[in-house]
Symmetry: C2
Subunit: 306 residues, 2 copies
């Protein structure tokens, strides 16, 4: 019995749904495997203002649902399962999941990445209501307000510098007394009068009713607690791509992102990556849908050629 | 007097409008220069079915108008002018146009590319009504129908092969008796039973009332004329990027497309390219908006660093 699918897509965020829509519209029998509900990270976004085509903005959940409807309209099948691993044996690709194995001749990996959490009270409850993991996406919501950035690496300082375009003051909260970020970013941040640093400090909780109002902080050396009034907090303490199961199969960057060329090819024939899981992604809905379309077109060409 | 703009974007298609929206939303004073009306090539598309977020499809003109509204809402300025050339002198970039010179510190070039036309009666009138220049975009509209592809290069044969997923028959019309396409594409096309070739043949006119009904053909050796009934014709006789004025300034591919890396950087600091004008673009609305967002984020980082 032949396998029913020519293409399997892992991940149902904007990249996976865009790839699935392109593939299904090209009449490729395609299965998309998503571990929870389609939409990926964007389902947590209360308002997406920067996806072209929606001048008034759109909620992430609604945008995800539109994208899902568009993909399934052309025949994309969606299954819910947790992917454990992939195997590549020439043209035959196998995806092992919690619900069994699936086979196809081409794979697009669009499993996204996860922002590391602080794991403090209020973080989950106030997400999208002042708690954000994406300065490019949400900075514009905080004009002339005081906001905090948590972290000390390159993303934290880039975010802080970017946020000075909007905020009246940006407080960088870092648990150590020195930064991991590159020297040039440090110099720029120290020279920017809107940025203040709180060293040796951790966030104990994020407080507010319907919106972030203040942070409860603790100095890790003195254990003294303090309150900081902010209307937003950007958490930039790390980003983990969902690629643990791909080690040894695909080439990954030191941080674990999948290395691809501009056609979204991984180096393994017939295997592509798209969206936040690939190295160099700007982590935007618009770039993810572009990646998905590109990967699907590449997969279609590969499938026509074997 | 300081220049009023930090960033200038050349071209108002999906790539330029996406870049403009991102830049303006990041509070960069930004000017977009478009030679005609915003929207670029998509304003000619009667129905765009494959831009994620619009499950029922949307007319190209309406999508362009939504994108324009979203970008100007954040303060993007749009001027109508024909660009004649750019000059780069370190951080200072000058854009020479039919309406005078503009200056900024960063440039995004998103001027698109143009499909070469046959220049025959009916081609313009029936565009979007059976005449198409994009198989990926429009192939799905021709299920179980007879369609023609005009051309003999790689794009023509890739299009013909792709269109066999939908059409009952694909007739490739080529003015010579041999193809320019690579050997492997030729072999695949010859082996595909749905594809037929008409050699030494040119299209004299495209005929139909509200939709394409037939092609009037002429054999260039015998000058005999014939009619071919088709419901669609895909014209793949060449693609010209609008980069004539960039020769000697930016690195271009042999075909004239702008070479960029995955961050849409051209190699000239502060100058970026996005959309169909860059080498390797899949020429889709979704990839163009992704390119635009990526280029704007790169430009914003550059402007913060100088």
């Amino acid at each position: 019995m032949g396998d029913p699918y020519e293409l399997i897509i892992i991940g149902g965020g904007p990249a996976g749904l865009s790839a699935g829509m392109y593939a299904a519209r090209s009449r490729l029998p395609t299965l998309l495997i998503e571990r929870a509900m389609p939409g990926g990270q964007i389902v947590n976004a209360e308002l997406v203002e920067n996806y072209p085509g929606f001048p008034e903005g759109i909620s992430g959940a609604e945008l995800a649902s539109l994208m899902e409807r568009q993909a399934t309209k052309y025949g994309l099948e969606i299954s819910v399962a947790e992917v454990d691993g992939i195997e590549v044996a020439g043209e035959q690709k196998t995806v092992r999941t919690s619900e069994g194995q699936y086979h196809a001749k081409a794979l697009i990996i669009a499993g996204g990445s996860e922002h590391s959490k602080l794991g403090v009270p209020g973080e989950e409850e106030l997400r999208g209501r002042g708690v954000s993991y994406c300065a490019t996406c949400d900075g514009a919501f905080f004009r002339d307000q005081v906001i905090a950035v948590v972290g000390g690496g390159n993303i934290a300082l880039s975010d802080a510098l970017f946020l000075t375009r909007f905020a009246s003051k940006v407080v960088v909260i870092h648990r150590r007394d020195q930064l991991r970020a590159t020297r040039i970013l440090q110099e720029r941040a120290f020279a920017q009068p809107k940025i203040e640093f709180l060293w040796d400090t951790v966030v104990k909780s994020i407080e507010g009713n319907s919106e972030v109002r203040q942070l409860r902080l603790m100095n890790v050396k003195t254990e003294a607690e303090a309150l900081l009034e902010v209307s937003g907090v950007f958490i930039a303490v790390g980003l983990r791509p969902n690629t643990g199961y791909l080690e040894g199969v695909l080439a990954l960057s030191p941080e674990g992102f999948i290395l691809v060329n501009e056609q979204m090819e991984t180096g393994v024939p017939g295997v592509y990556a798209a969206g936040d899981i690939r190295a160099g992604s700007p982590r935007q809905v618009s770039s993810a849908v572009g990646d998905g379309a590109t990967a699907a077109i590449s997969a279609e060409r590969y499938l026509s050629s074997i």
